[in-house]
């Protein structure tokens, strides 16, 4: 399968996990990555620069109306929601907080699901609230792939647990595609990166 974008939602414990991810991705990794990390409204983008130091992909704060480009990773600006338009550009808004969060994972994932449909990978990682649960469900409903950090291995299990629960509940119970520890998620992403131009062969074993 060829994926056009990866969205990541992450909250408490996020800095360590993001550093781990970005230092492990190889140079030339071309699928754009868009991250919502819950941060205080006052933060500037210095921490994005900090992540950049050890990363092989370019990490930058998403600008409004910016075109999403291959080989880049984007971080939602503090105190704004980040959305993706059908033409794969960014919009930002300053609407009400969602689960006390702005940027909100649900808001990013909902708009990304509509823009990328089956070409989207949604990933919910460590976090201490319920943001991301509705969003990952939208990703699946629109045909995308859902990867959730194994709650047992997450610094904070609440958010991945809520995401799994949200997928399984409701009229149409949906199985998450993968529930994996972080290092396995990274392996999977690297695999997706390699398979940009050919379909993914069946050698990947689904983690139960």
């Amino acid at each position: 399968m060829h994926y056009d974008a990866i969205v990541i939602g992450i909250s408490s414990g996020g800095m360590t996990a993001l550093k781990f991810i970005f230092s492990a991705l190889p140079a030339g990794f071309s699928i754009p990555i868009i991250v919502v990390q819950h941060i205080s409204a006052q933060s500037d983008n210095d921490w994005a620069n900090l992540l950049n130091e050890k990363s092989n992909v370019t990490i930058k704060e998403a600008d409004e109306k910016e075109k999403i480009a291959c080989g880049n990773a984007y971080i939602a600006p503090a105190n704004y929601h980040l959305l993706i338009e059908q033409d794969r550009t960014f919009s930002i808004t300053i609407d009400e907080r969602v689960y006390f969060a702005r940027p909100s994972i649900d808001v990013l994932f909902g708009s990304a699901a509509a823009a990328y449909k089956e070409k989207l990978v949604g990933i919910v990682l460590t976090g201490a609230n319920n943001d991301g649960a509705k969003g990952i469900k939208r990703v699946k409903e629109c045909g995308g792939l859902a990867i959730i950090q194994d709650p047992k291995t997450a610094e904070s299990a609440t958010m991945p647990t809520a995401a799994i629960a949200a997928l399984l509940c409701g009229k149409l119970a949906i199985q998450p595609d993968y529930i994996l520890p972080l290092e396995k998620i990274i392996e999977l992403l690297i695999e997706f990166g390699k398979n940009q131009c050919r379909s993914l062969s069946g050698q990947l074993i689904k983690y139960k």
Partner: protein
């Protein structure tokens, strides 16, 4: 046509209906934003699809005005982005001091918190008596609230901190009187503010001004609409006039980038070239 395509079409038709019947034009707003607000309304109202919203908007005026509130974002604070207000004091006030009479347009003022913040700064800088602030919004309900000048007491702690960090010179509590859960701003702050209903999407230039603040409004607009509004601002500003945008907004996506110089790049303060 997939069901996703159908719902996209339904949204286009809904926005067309709102425009045709009520004159409010959301057709050039960010689609991702509009879709999200409409989905929220669907869930809240228990309706099945967007066509049902359209039918209800056309026949039920109360629902229609509720829907307009959904699409109008009024999130604001006093001295929002304190370092912006600090820069306003340091870099913009000296320019304003050179004018014998000062006209300011606060476009998209919502419930007025930032217009009162501006009035406080001008009062402290000794400029308010020769200033007029046109504070405009298309949301009449928000304007009515702004005019009342009544705000929640619970917010005052945060606003006081914002005020102090923005370079405030007085005791912030001197600017309001509190009563139980609310505060009312001093009447002296209101005297030179003109509250007016103006829609950036459909209305035109109404005055020549020295300073325009339009913060966190343009992010909701697509690029064509941003260009329209920037043209409006450019035509309203005197030569050397100043434009203040939101902390993540810029002129770069629009055709007006070359027509201004940056007075404070980080705080998004621009000066119209002569």
């Amino acid at each position: 046509m997939t069901s996703e395509d159908t719902s996209e079409l339904e949204i286009l038709l809904l926005l067309e209906a709102v425009y045709q019947k009520y004159g409010y034009d959301f057709r050039q707003y960010s689609k991702a934003h509009i879709n999200r607000r409409i989905r929220n309304r669907l869930v809240l109202s228990g309706l099945d699809d967007v066509s049902q919203i359209q039918s209800k908007v056309l026949k039920d005026e109360t629902f229609a005005y509720q829907f307009l509130q959904d699409l109008s974002i009024t999130v604001t604070e006093m001295f929002r982005d304190k370092y912006f207000y600090r820069s306003l004091r340091e870099n913009v006030v000296p320019v304003l001091k050179t004018y014998p009479f000062i006209k300011i347009w606060h476009a998209g003022c919502a419930t007025g918190e930032e217009a009162y913040s501006m009035a406080i700064i001008l009062q402290e800088e000794g400029l308010y008596d020769r200033t007029i602030i046109y504070a405009t919004d298309f949301n009449q309900q928000a304007l009515d609230k702004a005019k009342e000048a009544i705000f929640s007491n619970a917010m005052m702690k945060e606003y006081t901190a914002n005020y102090q960090l923005s370079g405030g010179k007085e005791s912030f509590s001197d600017y309001y009187t509190s009563s139980y859960d609310n505060v009312i701003m001093n009447q002296s702050l209101k005297k030179n503010i003109v509250w007016a209903n103006h829609n950036l999407v459909t209305d035109s230039v109404f005055a020549e001004v020295h300073l325009i603040l339009c913060r966190n409004v343009l992010i909701y607009f697509d690029i064509n609409l941003q260009n329209r509004v920037q043209k409006l601002f450019y035509e309203s500003l005197v030569n050397g006039g100043i434009l203040c945008l939101g902390s993540k907004e810029g002129l770069r996506p629009t055709n007006f980038h070359e027509k201004y110089m940056e007075l404070d790049k980080k705080q998004r303060i621009f000066k119209k070239k002569y």
